[in-house]
């Protein structure tokens, strides 16, 4: 019985945590016009995305570059040639991908 209530409590705690993180991730990139692009990430509740990992992948899914968003929630890359995408990875439910063709 004691075991049950502990697991219940854990389940409730897990639920509360996920409820507290019910914000939506937001991520987009733009071309700076100088062969570089800047990507910006954040959350719908205004929480900072500083430190969130960002990966640039080529058309085959190979990592070209990676880094973390700075205090402004931004990161800049050189624009690669050919097909590519940029992935914002803030955990399982919080992954977003922007395709290179959409970065203007």
């Amino acid at each position: 019985m004691k075991k049950l209530s502990t697991s219940l409590l854990l389940a409730a705690a897990a639920f509360l945590t996920s409820a507290a993180q019910a914000h939506t991730p937001l991520f987009d990139c733009f071309d700076n016009g100088d062969a570089t692009l800047t990507c910006e990430g954040g959350f719908s509740d205004g929480a900072s995305a500083a430190g969130v990992g960002v990966r640039m992948l080529d058309g085959q899914g190979k990592v070209l570059e990676q880094g973390k968003l700075d205090a402004k929630g931004a990161i800049s890359f050189k624009r690669p040639k050919g097909e590519f995408s940029v992935v914002f990875d803030a955990g399982a439910e919080h992954t977003l991908t922007v395709l290179g063709d959409d970065i203007t």
């Binding site: 987009d28 733009f30 800047t38 910006e40 719908s44 929480a47 500083a50």
Partner: protein
């Protein structure tokens, strides 16, 4: 003779009444405030007018300041970016000829980063000849790019200011907009707030308001509306129609005279309502 005279008089009274009922609004107009991306130059028009009636419009001197406030990081106070170098004078069609107004195209590289932008106009005091007073409306509009929120609820320390309690760019038609009126940074209880719908579309090709109106008010009180703040300086107003709603809190700033005449330092905020998609 008597019969003819009476309708004329009534007409004159109605004309006077509607003139008095219309409130001054410094319009800070941009077509869309909730943007997915900052893809192109961002156009703004600054026109000192009467919003519901689409005029009369008044002469507007070059603003003392025109800028946006935006946070660099989520937890910091906003930084100011001066936009005054982008101001260009235009001649806006008014009832009798034209009046001076302003246009600004903010380049993409200045206004494309995600987040909230509070765009602010601090105008020169305007001499209202009919009342021999000066009016200075500190006017704000907010733009969001990409959905990442920022400083939409931040007070910028204007002499007269309406601070939003709902995002001004994120309102469904019929939703309730809330704000708080600050004079010299402090809430102003039980003060009047004028509310007007931008009832005539802007014809930006010909620099005039369209003739056609969206609403025919059956009574003056439904055109130039007046509400009051509560004991905490807050107000709420339901946005009954998609488009632009102007809120103006009058004579709330600390400076009360200009050139030895009464000065009304007002706070104006523009709010955009969006229809639910069908």
């Amino acid at each position: 003779m008597k019969m003819k005279f009476a309708p004329l008089l009534l007409g004159a009274v109605l004309a006077t009444a509607s003139m008095q009922a219309a409130a001054h609004f410094l319009l800070v107009y941009t077509p869309q405030t909730a943007l997915l991306r900052g893809g192109a130059d961002m156009p703004f028009n600054l026109i000192f007018t009467h919003a519901f009636n689409g005029g009369p419009s008044m002469e507007m001197a070059k603003p003392q300041k025109f800028y946006f406030a935006k946070q660099a990081t989520p937890d910091e106070k906003s930084e100011i970016t001066d936009l005054s170098s982008y101001l260009e004078p235009i001649q806006w069609q008014a009832q009798n000829g034209t009046v001076s107004a302003w246009r600004a195209n903010i380049p993409r590289n200045v206004m494309r980063s995600a987040g909230d932008y509070q765009i602010v106009v601090e105008p020169e005091p305007f001499h209202e000849e009919s009342e021999d007073i000066y009016i200075q409306q500190f006017s704000k509009v907010m733009v969001n790019i990409g959905g990442i929120p920022g400083n939409w609820d931040e007070a910028l320390g204007l002499p007269g200011e309406i601070v939003a309690l709902n995002k001004p760019y994120a309102n469904w038609t019929g939703g309730v907009f809330r704000g708080v009126v600050l004079g010299d940074g402090k809430p102003v209880p039980f003060t009047q707030v004028e509310v007007e719908y931008l009832n005539h579309d802007l014809d930006l090709t010909n620099n005039r308001f369209a003739e056609a109106s969206h609403i025919e008010a059956p009574h003056p009180a439904l055109g130039a509306m007046v509400i009051k703040t509560d004991a905490n300086g807050q107000f709420a107003f339901s946005l009954a129609k998609a488009g632009w709603w102007g809120f103006a809190a009058l004579d709330i700033g600390p400076v009360k005279t200009f050139k030895e005449r009464p000065l009304s330092q007002d706070g104006v905020l523009w709010v955009q309502a969006t229809d639910l998609p069908k």
